[in-house]
Subunit: 334 residues, 6 copies
């Protein structure tokens, strides 16, 4: 379908955008999905300085790169989460402030709204990100966990995100939650519950990323079919099961990259994601946004990987059929 | 083995042959397997006008394309079938006539004979096609269906096709039935029964096409091994199961391309056919005919698909080994 | 749940009911699902003679057997089917008449209505059966088959069965279509299409029989979940795949019992049906009707089989849980 | 091997022990594994009143029941856990106190020590239970979670449990952690890490329960082989995957018993646990303790289930072979 | 089919026959398949003393036990094998003699003939056993092994066994080779090669034992279908794969019973043999001989095992169907 | 990781090295692993003529080819094997001599030592090869085979190879046994046993070749993990299972290339070896030696195959990751 193939910059934030843009351009990418961290896309600067977004656009254009979505995973995570020290490492000081959990959550919510404003200025209509969740930590229902506890988590999500989504609507920007463990939605059933909780707010949809569904044994195509009008953005990321009777699907508190884990992220095309049926499903629902490679593989050189992932996507992004075969065969009739 | 890789033109009959030949040549095909519909290969014209076949050859040669087989699937289907309105759409008016079923069947039989005659003039030794079947519609044995009913179907097939095959023998042409649901032979056991019925007529063999075996769970290599001297032609076509607990292998009266079906045709290389063992089997039996891509995929742009299918076949069509490894190792002895 | 375990008498119609009732009672069955053929339940006699149904009840009660459903598969098949010689063998002469297809279909429709009337007299609220289908024979879409052809088949079904269902409603009887190849509904998608066609008529539902779903790779539990308010009756029947690379799932025009088929019916408990999840699903939807063993296995002595099937069902028909485990654990709190 | 088959009373704590003992005895159990909640085994009473344990023994003996292990899952859970409202429901008021988390943890630790004391008085050498975990909630490593965080959790475990285990050693009692999500050890790698953390304390081992390994895809036999000298007790409990492409192995915040979950507990023998290899492994390591049925199945009547589970275990608890087959064959030599 | 269920005594030769007969009778066996070692059936005594076979029969009859086959596996093994010290342990001194390999082979051949003579006297028509093989040790073709070497092995087999089989024919006894690794035939292709080598001698057939096919991944039913007229006897023995990524299907020179092996024998019903299709296949070919349990499981008490194996066989040995279901359904026609 | 990709010359020994070197260079190989047979690397000449190794190096360098390992599989095989005629074909006359088995074994041992000496002169630090085994032929434990017999085989191995390994140590050369059926080590457990037997001699390790593990169902990655410090060299060779219910994993005494075998070698990338996890494992253990393609496929033209295998390896030999993703994400913190 010749969709844009972009590179999500989140895993490259150690590189200045200028460096990364040059590389991505060389590798053949059509564009970048800028992370709102590192110097890639700084929301505060975008809002305070009119020249900031222009300069970013100029930089990208100088390398022939488009940008149609930006991403606020790290700050978004803090909106609903119980806050601990780990969050400090992922947000700007202005969001962390004194670290009081409720304060962090509220400042994070405001930052997510600001991000929509900055996106609008930058000419981008999709912001991807995480939501966090106040109930993720109660994942396994022991001690016995009443549904009322879980309901409270979804209410908390709706309370915090409805005003954010209202702001997004005003800015003409849509928010794509990356469905992912630790978020309010991590599979089909919780995505439905989240949509129900937020009243199917038109600004709220999903950044489809199959890599998070694979280790849950959820069929990515079933997700697309279920939420066909809510696929706002697509990540190309892959994961692989490595179950051998000793490893656990819960991965044993082991780091990504540890071979004793029950699953891991791998370079797109090397995992258990079947891309062909996903492309067909995206074609069916008429998705025309970018295919954005979120490259993460703890066992492979990332430059090698970005290159082969791009090649993989180019080989998969075919257009749907425009010819009915019956018609062709029917030409037997003169 | 550097077999010819040809494109079966049946799914491209909406294009004039001239247009298609130019495209196929550009894509790198070695030749075409012309369908006897559209303007690709018109039997009546080939018989009435001596210049017709010469002109076709000239056209093909102008594009550097060979043609070693033609195909009469649509008319062939009418020879044994109970005839209904659907058949009207697939045959020329001269075969349909007044639409009286027995009349259609007899005219179709004559057309299939004429096709051999035209093939001979055109310098082609293989005609592929369908046979139809008077008993396919009794596939599931309810109401209880005695074997006598089925035997009658095979007798009907033999009665109608033996004279056709005799004519083929006279023309030095062989007929390759594409083993396929709706035909007198659709798997290994029915192919054997058909051969038995027709007395293993030397003109009657098969156009091997693994895509029709996949949704029946028949191993394509087992078919080749079983009928190693009857593989007259090979179609490269692929199919994929898409069983998810809700879809049926019988496909629910749903159109090809509907994702709720239990299986579908897909571009060669993207389905469940394992091509490597098929190439090995073809090498073992000494098959030297073309590998003819019958491209059909309701979910992919056909030009993209034809190109990638050709590339796939080129990567698979290896020659057999000429060296015995024991011999090599044995050189240890001086 | 201590549901009634009954024996469907269709496969035992060579035995007089008196003989069969004695056997079934000895084996430990709770009741019989009488077939409307043989001398088991004769609709014409039930309607013309008031004493007929009383005598049947007396006979059953003498053996301690209940009857809560009767079955009209054979006549029902003729309502929508294209009629051929095979149908003659499965209907009474009064339905066959002169064998003119439309006449047979109309007389069969009336007989199905009469069956409801007889059921009412007999004190039975469920009649199971087949519907036939005018489009089953177009199962595989070659020659190319437009959806309009299929739609016409569902319209034909609705036209013929709506008045029948209206009559059923008047008699306070429900009709359970056994979802089955050759019928208007044979899987989830066609069952939905049939319900849509007939306007979700409240008298029309299903006789759930998992054995017909297994060789289609349809999950029986998915069927129950999808049509949870339409499960009017349940057949306990089993099937087994016997795919070995040479056999076809379409079964090669071979008789049941032939080991070269790709699947076959087997005694309940010996096939691929997983009964435990089915019992759980039936418990969830609150199904309280009988579990009726339709015993068919071409490779096993039927008396041995009926006995072991009954034992299998007794070992599976457990009641749902009434205790919440959280509550129990919660008693830790004093 | 004719091991004792006992019933763990945790899921039956709504019944007075007297009632349950009568039932278990009727069903044929050899003994009970008493839960330290409900009135089954009350640690405080056992310590304050010398007659308490005698009366319990008398009650059990009156029903011919042994007791060789007691269980303190609920209180044990509070030793390392972050405490929330859910914990209030699972501990006695004297442990909950004012609910201050650290206070709850310390009182829980003391109660676990007291349980060993009570066990000694009661003549029981194994106490099973949970440990809780301060790091379980960081299961998925986002926000990025350094190993230092996890290490701290294991240190916390060691700090809290080493003195408890020292006390156990003094009382001649061993503690069997039920390896389970939400605990410091939930699979093979975390069990090893826990053992390392606690210096392989001789009082610390495992209550082997395969049902918690199944939904993690960990082979129960691998666990036994790995920790062959640390299997202090065995639970017979079963679980079943119900992955269908839409359900998640993380179970979507859905209650046990909800069919949309990716897995669930089921009555022993009905799940994915393969019991035969487990019995062989237990025979190899010389395990001579009880096989204690922890019955939990949200979809089955528990009395039906306890009965069938007992029958299942009786059919599996075979003794190892004492004869070498070579020797027997060797008798060919006279 | 109510076939005799017998116990093969080979694994019980440490027990005097009198002891074993009493046990087997108590367990419910119908008969014994006597091993020609231990005191179970001594060929030399049977030939030298007319009273020997009568006394054996009396002993068996006193326990209500039949005997329709005897077995000479140990001596048979020596007929073709390269002889080493291991063979000394499995044959009588009179066969071993001075241990010169060719002498042992020839004496073993004579003993196998004598066994037929003894069988005839004893009234038994089937002798089961092994053949040995001069080429088994060349199993893996390195150093490179020409087919001429293998052919020589089959010629050696034919040379040694044709005279033996001629003798069997004279005695009216048939020989059932237990197809098994280390024998001249160990799978379908080698069984065919052995039959070809020995000219399809009518006295030479097979003692079908599925346990030896399972670890080779050969379908036991395919074996029965292939050699339907050569199934002279049936062993009920089971095996189970225990492949875990570390174990090898070649079993690493580890003893039976070692859990690190890639497969092992287990009590019938506990392994990977599917008995139902085997019974159906035996019914189809009309096999009416005994089902003889060869019980071998290094991890289970053999008395427990013999009992449960017998129960398993009784639950499987069903008769074929005598009723055509179409006929039953066809009674719809009055 | 940009390891050297070399071609093992063993299967090309029918070609003079000069011819092969030219081809390999053209195809793009980085080097050759020279076989010590044919004219590729002649140990006797290397020892007697100082110019020999220089000339070889010159030849290789002229084609831009490295050589970092040589291989002595054929002679090595004779060190422990029982010797038969097949060995004559694989060793030089000077090793075979009069063919007396013990003499052959001792001369072979000396030749293996000489090979280390020649390797040292040639500037190569790794010699790959086979060991043979005196117990391989006792693979299947019938007649009953005591562990003492197997132990004797490992002792024999240690006795013969310890002095060889001592010599290797002196020459600064390491020996990589290709773990393979017919060798003293053919899987994980026997490799451990061999290492134990030889006292973990530092000169003794493995030439890792996954193709020999695949038909044993051993996970190649498990092998690498188990022997991470003993992987001295790596062969890229592939194998494929072709089990169809009739073929045996033991391969029925059939030649490589026969489609009735249960498995066969195939061109790397076309078999069941999963290369990606192997590359990751090699990266983890820090293996920096060559990836040496041992090309063997009885069904494919070897020149086609060598080319595609090289391309496959180039596409897999990626470097490990140098960036921690947490760090990148952590840049959210300014």
């Amino acid at each position: 379908m010749s969709r844009l193939v972009t590179l999500f910059t989140g895993q490259w934030a150690d590189l200045p955008l200028e460096t990364l843009a040059a590389k991505a351009s060389d590798w053949g990418f059509d564009g970048l999905e800028l992370a709102c961290w590192g110097d890639h896309f700084e929301v505060d600067k975008a809002l305070e300085d009119d020249g900031y977004v222009t300069a970013k656009r100029d930089l990208l254009e100088a390398h022939g790169l488009a940008c149609v979505a930006i991403s606020t995973h790290l700050v978004g995570q803090c909106v609903c989460d119980p806050i601990d020290e780990r969050h400090r490492a992922i947000v700007p000081d202005r969001v962390w402030g004194d670290g009081d959990p409720e304060g962090v959550r509220q400042r994070a919510a405001q930052e997510v709204i600001d991000t929509a404003c900055a996106a609008e200025r930058f000419g981008v209509e999709v912001v991807n990100g995480f939501t966090g969740s106040s109930v993720w930590s109660k994942l396994y229902f022991f001690p016995p966990t009443p549904q009322a506890d879980i309901d409270a988590g979804y209410t908390d999500f709706a309370d915090r995100w409805t005003p954010i989504m209202d702001a997004y609507a005003r800015h003409g920007v849509r928010f794509g939650l990356e469905v992912h463990p630790t978020e309010i939605a991590y599979d089909i059933h919780t995505a439905r519950r989240a949509l129900d909780a937020i009243g199917n707010h038109p600004s709220f949809g999903f950044n489809f990323d199959p890599s998070h569904l694979i280790p849950q044994f959820v069929d990515p195509v079933a997700f697309i079919n279920e939420f066909s009008d809510r696929i706002f953005h697509v990540h190309i990321k892959d994961a692989r099961l490595q179950l051998d009777g000793r490893s656990s699907i819960l991965s044993s508190h082991l780091d990504f990259g540890d071979p004793r884990r029950g699953w891991d992220f791998v370079s797109p095309g090397r995992g258990d994601v079947k891309w062909d049926p996903i492309i067909r499903a995206l074609n069916r629902i008429g998705y025309q946004g970018p295919l954005s490679i979120e490259w993460e593989d703890s066992g492979m050189d990332r430059e090698w990987g970005a290159h082969e992932a791009l090649e993989m996507v180019r080989g998969q992004d075919f257009a749907p059929n425009e010819v009915a075969f019956d018609a062709a065969f029917g030409d037997g009739h003169e």
